[in-house]
Amino acid sequence: MSASNLHMYVMAVPLLTAMFVNLFGRRSDTVIATMTIGSLAFSSIASIAVLANVLEVGRISYVAGNWRAPFGIELVVDPLSAVMLALISVIALLASFSTLKSVGQELPGRGHQFFALYLILISGLMGLVLTGDAFNLYVMLEITSITSYGLIAMGKGRAPLASFNYVIMGSVGACFYLLGVAYLYLMTGTLNMADLAQILPTIGGGAAVATALGFMLVGLWVKMAFFPLHGWLPNAYSLAPTGVALVAAPLMTKVTIYLMVRIMFWVFSADFLFIEHALAQSGIVWAASIAIISGSVMALGQRDLKKMLTYIIVAEVGYMVGGVWLANSTGLTGAVLHIVNDSLMTLCLFLAVAAIVYKLGGSEFDRLQGIYRKMPITMAAFTVGAFSMIGVPPTAGFFSKWYLILGGVEAGHWEYVIALVLSSLINAVLFFRIIEIGYFFKDENDHGHEKLEEAPLAMQAPLLISAAALIVIGLSSGPLVESIIKLALPAGF
Amino acid sequence: MISSIDLMLLSLVVICAIAAINVKDLLAATMIFGVYSFLMCLLWATMGAVDVAFTEATIGAGISTILFIGAILHTTRRSKD
C-alpha cells in the first residue's frame, strides 16, 4: 500500500466491506460485527494518520484515475477535510458498537442489509468531505441520501412516512444543488472546485453566478435542515432505527455544513459572498438566529427524548450556519470547532439514548423516571453530553460557543449573540428537565437500591469514551484551535 | 432560427409534464410520464446526446415506468389531485 493512497483507502475499505457484509453476513452476526468494526477501525487509524500527514505537508491534491486536476475528478485532502475525515471515521467507529447491539435487537435477521447500507453511508460521507469536484459532490450527496432513505424507512410504524418526506425534501435539495452546478457549468465550463475558484473572478459575479450560489446554498440548507427547511429532520431521525440516528444525527448535518463552507470559500470567495452580497450575509445571520431560537423552542414542546434531541440538532445547525456567515475568522473558527464538538456531543447524547432505548424500549419522558438509578453510568455520560450542549465549561460545547458568540460580538450581530445565549438557556431547561425526571422523580419512600439495568458494555464503552472526549477536547481546545482549526480555515481568513 | 422540430418537441414535453401531474388516474399519469420520457429521449437524440437518449429510453421510459406501474397496481390508482 503506498502511503499516497491512504485517504483513498479510508473511504474505499468500508465501501468494499459493505459488499462483503451483504454477501457473507446473512447467516452470522459475528461476521457482520467483525467486518464492520474491522473496516471502521482501519479507517479511523488511517484517517488519523492522514490528518497527521496533512498537517505536516499541507494540502494534498489527489486525482482518481491519474488525470490531472480539472479533467479527472480531484480529491482534496486539506486540513479541513482531513479533520472531517478523521471525525467521521472515529464517530462511525464509536457509534457502530452501539449500532450493532441495537440493530441486533430492533431488526433481527436483517443485519447484513442494514450494515451494507450503513457502511456505504459512512463511506459516502467520507467521499463528500474528500471530493473537490462539484458534480461528484452531487453524486456523493445522493449516495448518502439514498442509503439514509433506506435505513430510515427500515424503522417501524411511521418511519416510512418520515422517510418519504425526507425523499421529497432531499430530492428538492439535491436538485437545487444540481441546478446550481448546471448554472456554474454553463458559465465556466468546468466542474472542478479549484478551477471554478480560479475562473469565477474572471467572469465577474453576474446574475447567473449569483443564482448558482443561491441554489447551491438552498440545496444544501435543505439537506442540513436549516430552519425553515428543517421539516423532514425531526421525524426522520427520531423514527428511524436507533442505529441510524446514531450515525446520521452526529454526522449528516455537520458534513453538510462542511460542504457549505467548502462551496462558500473554496469555490466562491469571501469577497463575493460578504462584500458583494452584504445584504444576503446579514439576512442569513438573522435567519440563523431565528433558526436557533425556533429550533430550541420547538424542542421545548417535545415529550420524547430522541425527538427533543433532533430539534436541538435543528438549532445547532443555526449556530453553525450563523457562525460561518458572520464573515469573520472568529465566527468561522467557532463554526468549524462547533462542527467537531457538536458531532461529539450529539454522538454522546444519542449513544445514551440508544442505551436507554435498548433497555427500556423507548425514550418517552414518562419512561425515564428514576433512570439514574437504573443506568447510572449511561446517565452520567448523558449528563456530560447535556452540559456540553448547554455550554457549561470545561466541556467542549462551551468553547465553540465562546468563539461563536465572540464572532457575533466582533461582527456586531447582536441578534445572533442573543439567540445563542437564549438557546443555551433553553437547552439548560431542556436537559435539566430530563435530569429532574430521571433523578428526582421518585416516590418518597424509595431509598435508591433498585436493580441496576445497565446497557451492555459494548454500548457503554463508546458512550464513556465520547463523554470523556468532550471534556478532553474542551480542555485542549486552545491547542486544537491553534494547531488544527486555524490551518483548516480558508486562506485569507 | 427556431427549428420547428425542436419547438414542437419542447411544447409536447411541456404539455406532457402538465398532463402527467394533473391527471387524476395515477396509471394514466404514469403512462403520460412514460411518453414524456420518450419525448425527452427524442429531444436529446436531436441534441446529439445519443448515449443519454439511449439510457433514458431504457431507464426512464422503460424500467421506471414499469416500476411505477408495479407500485401503483399494488396500491391504488386514484388520486385526488
Binding site: 457549561v392 465549561p393 460580538v409 449573540v417 445565549v421 422523580f441 480542555l475 | -
Partner: protein, 489 residues
Amino acid sequence: MSIQTSIWPLLAVLVSLLGAIPIMLSDRTPNLRESWTLLAALIKVAIVISLLPHVLNGGGWEFVIAEVVPGVPLVLRVDAMGMFFALVASILWFFTSLYSIGYMRTLNEHAQTRYFASFAVAISATLGVAFAGNLLTMYLFYELLSLSTYPLVTHEQNAESRKSGRKYLTYILGTSIGLALPAMLIVYSLTGNLDFQVGGVMAESGASPELLALLLVLFLFGFAKSGVMPFHGWLPAAMVAPTPVSSFLHGVAVVKAGAFSILRIIFHILGPEQLQQANLGWIVCTVAATTILVASLVALTQDNLKRRLAYSTIGQLSYMVLGAGMLTAVGMTGGLLHIAMHAFGKITLFFCAGAIYVAAGKKYISQMDGLGRRMPITYLAFFLGSLSIIGMPPLGGFISKWNLAIGAVESGQLILLLVILISSLLNAFYFFPIVYRGFFLPAAEGEPEGIKEAPLFCLVPLSITALCSLALFFWPSVFYRLAQLALGL
C-alpha cells in the same frame, strides 16, 4: 510580588473532587464514607493553610491547567483575595462536614451518598472560584458550583424541592449564561485578556463610560448568587434543602462565591479607578442599598426561621457589594472583610436552626417559645451569631461594618451610612425576638417533654463557629492583611 508555579493550588481544589469518588464507592458503609469526607476536608484545610504564609508575604502561587482560548488559559492563581475566600470556605467546610454527619444521621436522611458527593464537588468548585486566575476559570468553577449544588437543593425529591431546584437553576444559570457570559466575551473582545490584575484589565481598553456601565450591570446581575435584587428569589426557595446545605449555601460557598465574583470583577476586571472616573459607583450602591433595606424588611415578616435567615443573608450579601460600590479603599476593605465575618456569623445561625430542627423538630419561630432554656448552648451560639450579624462589638461583624461605615463617610455618601445604620437596627429587630422567645417566654401548652440539646456532632461545630466569630473581633489581622493585599494597599 513573587508568583511561584506550584501544583498545590490544583491539589487544594481537587482534593474534595477526588474525594467524591471514594465517597460514591463506599455507598454501603456510612462510617467509611464519612471518614473520607472528613479526611478530604482536613487535607484541604491543611493545604490552604500551608499556602497562606507565602501569600501573606505578598507572594502568590500559580498553576496553569490548560490553554483553552488564546490568551486565556485555565489557570489557578492564589493571590490574597482568593486566599481570603479559600481560607473561609475550607475552614467552614470542615465544620459543615462534621455538622452534616450529625444532622443527616439523626434525621436518617435518604440518598446520603449523593449528598456527600455533591457537597464535595461543591466545595471543590468554591475553592476553584477562589483560586481562579482569570475570569474564564472563575466562570467555569462558578458554573460547576451551580450545577453541583442543584442535587443538594433538590435533595428531598418532592414536588416542592423540585420546584425550588428549578427556580434555583433558572436564576443562577439564567443570569450567568444570559448576562455574565456575554459580558465576559465583550471584555475579551475588547482586551484579548481576562486576567485578574490589580487595577483591572479594562484599564487600557479605553472603553466608553456607557460600555463600562453596561458591563458593570451585566456582571452585577450576572452573578446572581450574590442575591442582589431582583435576582434574589432563588435563595429563600432553596431553603427546602437540608440545613447543612442551607448553612453552607448561605453561609459560605454559593452566596459568597457570588459576592466574591462581583468583588473580583470590580477590583480586578473593571477596576475601581475606571469606575470612579466614569462615576458608576452609584449604580452598585443603589442596587445594594435597596436590596439591604428591602431584604431586612422582608426578613421581619418571615416566621420560618430558615427563610428569615435567608432574607437576612440577602441583605448581608449586599453589604459586600455595597462596600465594593463605594470605591474607596476602606469601603472595599470592609466589603471584603464582611465575607469572612458574615460567613462565620451566618453559618452559626444556620447550624443553630438545624440543631433546633434536629432536636425539637421545629421550623417556625412562633413555635420556639421557651426552647432556649432547654437548648442553652445552641441559643447562646445563636445569640453570638446574631450579634455578629448585627455588627455589635465584640464580635467580628463589627469590624467589617465599622469599615463600611467609615467608607461611606469617606466617599461622602452619608445616605449609605444611614442605610447601614437602619439595616443594623432592622437586623436587631428580627434576631432579638428569637432569642427573647427562646429564653424568656413560656413554652407552649402540650409541648413534648425531653427536648434537649442536639447531638454532639451538631453542637460542637456550632459552638466553635460562634467562638470564631468572637475571636475574629480580637484577631482579625490575617483577614485584614489579606484584604489589604487584595486591594493593593
